[in-house]
């Protein structure tokens, strides 16, 4: 059985976000959307997390932070870039301090566009991420 698909725990990291997407991420936890139906929990701790959910672009300041958090997550793991800033840098892409989308720093598995991304699309993105998570687990199993 694929336990990992039934219990994705999320680490939510806020890059150079305007907080719009963050509000929408938190909205997923509310009774209206209730992501805990799918066993999702917002852990806030990389060591417990399976899904790395980033909002906002990455900048010079937080590149090492994003890398470290990614390193601190146990395999298998997926990265989901939420919102247009996280996918490409969005309107901040040309800023002097912005490196661009999250994929400039760590490999991204799912892109969720939108400004701000709607809760429905965030949930959709995570569910897509779960498929990838399952595949990654299978691959890791074959390697061993």
């Amino acid at each position: 059985m694929d336990g990992i698909k039934k219990s994705p725990w999320i680490l939510h990291y806020d890059g150079t976000s305007c907080n719009g997407c963050d509000i929408e991420v938190l909205a997923c936890l509310t009774p209206l959307y209730d992501v805990e139906r799918f066993g999702m929990i917002n852990t806030g701790n990389p060591k417990h997390a399976d899904v790395f959910l980033i909002t906002g672009s990455v900048n010079e300041q937080n590149i090492p932070v994003v890398k470290q958090l990614y390193e601190q997550m146990p395999d298998p793991k997926v990265v989901i870039a939420v919102g247009i800033c996280a996918t490409s840098g969005g309107i901040f892409a040309e800023c002097y301090n912005v490196a661009g989308g999250v994929d400039k720093v760590i490999p991204v598995d799912v892109y969720v566009p939108g400004c701000a991304a709607r809760p429905e699309s965030i949930i959709d993105g995570v569910v897509k991420g779960l498929e990838i998570l399952g595949e990654k687990k299978k691959k890791a199993g074959k390697k061993q």
Partner: protein
């Protein structure tokens, strides 16, 4: 007879010899040899007399009495001049009072009082002798290594090692005297010798603080001595006997409560129970072997030993209840105050007070089961606490201070020492280890003897005990595998006693059912004239031993798992700002900040300055109530 005489006198002779040898290496060798011989003698004597015990009169009683009086007068003269020189006149007065009283009694009223059995060696004596002989001599060996380091670290103190070692041995001799003599006058004499020795040992460094604290110890213990002397005179004049065993077989009526109360006071001062506890806390200025010797195996155990002997007269009597409550308050207050301490030796001191309080509770509750717990507590406490004291002493030399906050370094500097220290701590409070076995039985015994309030005190005190030991243990394990570079080696003189004591802690936990069957049950049967049984169910003992084995086997069983399970190591979570060395993080403006983690001390709740006065007042009130009850009982 010969064996016992040699046993008693050997440490004294050793003390003299050590005092005279001035060459350092030769003296160290002499100390080691004497310590080993003392331990062997203890084993031999216990081996010979353990089965049947011995009760005997002494052939040269008159002569010994005269020698004792002479020595007492000399000691009194010394103490009186000392008191005058240091302007502590109370000390002089107390010393004068008790010596004068004893002299008057000796030459005026002692006619016609014959002592049939001056020396009693029963199972309890055997246990005490083993504790004193083995733990004591181990500490003496340890002292050889420790004092060398001590004077390397503290150049400012005058080196008086031969004096120090000889006093240690004299002390052992006096302790043997206390547990062997049934004649109260002799016991009193040894009692006073321990007082004097503790004074000399505490004042070893001759600093202002050491002097003051040693004088305080002298003062309080002399106060206890006065009570002891008064008790002797009362017993002699009223009951025409001087034998402890005769006294304890009397009916607990109102009159006998007077000497019992006085003796209890003497015992409480020696065991440093509140409100007499300040001397023990002050005694921590002394070099560590002193603390280890005074506060684990010997001095303080003399007090509880006396209470155990008096137990048949305590129990539900008024004096018994008063002593029990005094012990209860001491246990609770000191356990709580230990939480607020960060100095390793201070924690040990408070925990010693608390544990002595527990022993006093058990001994004075006076039932078979509680006495069983009390005697086992003495054994377990002696080995665990001496192990802790000497490992803290060594740790101080290894890491530079004895603050528990800094002991996280210890695992890197000397992992062996940290490991032994953890065994000692575990011995003090964790489940399958000894102290907890006794605490468990104590609870049961106290409920059976209807001491509800004491049981509740025990519950709170145990919780506090757990807190301060566990946080210490936590510090010890908190920097494992952090890649330390500087390793220190322990000298063999230090390592050997520490190792042996650590092994003893574990062995004592495995063998307590045997101790119970061959020593405690026969002793308690004899004292109470009804068959004593081990107060723990057999199935429980099996489970306990099972737990203990698990604790020993689990680390071993983990080795293969660790070997086969290579894992990815990642930095500690510090919100993504860990610099990679797990010690620092990037703060504002990219500056590296050090992570510092301190334990909780909760000064607002358990600060010593708050609780000391309160608990002292409470204990004093309890003693006053005791006096009132005593007078009320007579009237």
């Amino acid at each position: 007879m010969v064996a016992i005489t040699v046993f008693l006198l050997f440490p004294m002779v050793a003390a003299l010899a050590i005092f005279l040898v001035k060459h350092d290496a030769a003296r160290s060798m002499l100390v080691r040899i004497s310590a080993v011989i003392t331990a062997l003698l203890t084993l031999v004597v216990v081996g010979i007399f353990f089965k049947d015990g011995i009760r005997m009169a002494c052939p040269w009683e008159e002569e010994i009495d005269l020698i004792i009086v002479a020595v007492e007068v000399i000691i009194a003269a010394y103490i009186i001049t000392l008191g005058i020189r240091n302007k502590k006149y109370v000390i002089s007065i107390l010393s004068f009072l008790q010596t004068a009283a004893i002299l008057v009694f000796e030459f005026g009223f002692k006619e016609g009082i014959t002592v049939q059995t001056a020396i009693v060696f029963d199972k309890l004596t055997a246990i005490m002798a083993l504790v004193i002989g083995l733990v004591g001599s181990l500490i003496c060996i340890y002292a050889v290594g420790y004092m060398k380091d001590y004077h390397n670290h503290h150049k400012e103190y005058k080196e008086r090692k031969s004096f120090f070692f000889s006093i240690l041995f004299l002390f052992l001799s006096a302790m043997f005297g206390i547990v062997l003599s049934n004649n109260l006058v002799w016991m009193y004499f040894c009692w006073e010798i321990t007082t004097l020795c503790s004074f000399l040992l505490i004042g070893y460094t001759q600093t202002e603080e050491a002097k003051n604290n040693s004088l305080r110890a002298l003062l309080i213990n002399l106060g206890g001595g006065v009570a002891f002397a008064a008790a002797i005179i009362f017993i002699g004049m009223y009951y025409h006997t001087l034998e402890l065993s005769v006294l304890t077989q009397k009916n607990p009526d109102a009159v006998i409560m007077i000497p019992v109360f006085l003796l209890s006071i003497a015992a409480l001062t020696k065991s440093a129970q509140l409100p007499f506890s300040s001397w023990l806390l002050g005694a921590m200025v002394a070099p560590t072997p002193t603390s280890a010797l005074l506060h684990s195996a010997t001095m303080v155990k003399a007090g509880v030993y006396l209470i155990i002997r008096l137990a048949p007269l305590l129990g539900p009597t008024s004096v018994g209840r008063v002593v029990t409550f005094g012990g209860g308050v001491t246990f609770l207050a000191c356990s709580l105050m230990a939480i607020s301490q960060s100095d390793g030796k201070k924690i040990l001191a408070y925990s010693t007070l608390a544990n002595l309080g527990l022993i006093v509770i058990c001994a004075s509750a006076g039932t078979q089961e509680s006495l069983w717990a009390a005697i086992l507590l003495i054994i377990f406490h002696a080995v665990s606490k001496s192990l802790l004291f000497i490992s803290v002493g060594s740790a101080e030399h290894q890491i530079g201070n004895r603050n528990v906050e800094n002991m996280d370094l210890l695992m890197g500097v000397s992992s062996k020492l940290a490991f032994y220290m953890m065994i000692g701590i575990a011995g003090m409070f964790l489940a399958p280890f000894g102290m907890l076995v006794s605490k468990w039985v104590a609870m049961k015994a106290l409920i059976d003897s209807d001491n509800v309030i004491i049981v509740i005190i025990l519950a709170y005190g145990s919780a506090a005990t757990l807190f301060y030991w566990a946080k210490w243990m936590g510090k010890l394990v908190s920097k494992v595998n952090m890649g330390h570079k500087n390793h220190h080696e322990l000298s063999l003189d230090e390592e050997l006693p520490i190792t042996i004591l650590a092994v003893l802690v574990v062995i004592s936990c495995f063998t307590f059912p045997l101790v119970s069957r061959y020593a405690l049950e026969p002793y308690l049967t004899e004292v109470y004239k009804s068959t004593a049984l081990i107060p723990i169910e057999t199935s429980d003992i099996k489970l306990m031993l099972c737990m203990l084995s698990m604790l020993i086997l689990l680390p071993i069983s983990f080795i293969p798992i660790y070997k086969n399970d290579k894992r990815r190591k990642v930095p500690i979570y510090m919100a993504g700002e860990n610099t990679g060395d797990n010690q620092t993080f990037y703060g504002a403006m990219g500056v590296k900040q050090k992570v510092e983690m301190r334990n909780w001390y909760m000064e607002d709740f358990f600060g010593a300055h708050k609780l000391t006065f309160l608990s002292n007042a409470l204990c004093t009130a309890i003693l006053v109530v005791g006096v009132i009850l005593l007078i009320g009982g007579l009237a």
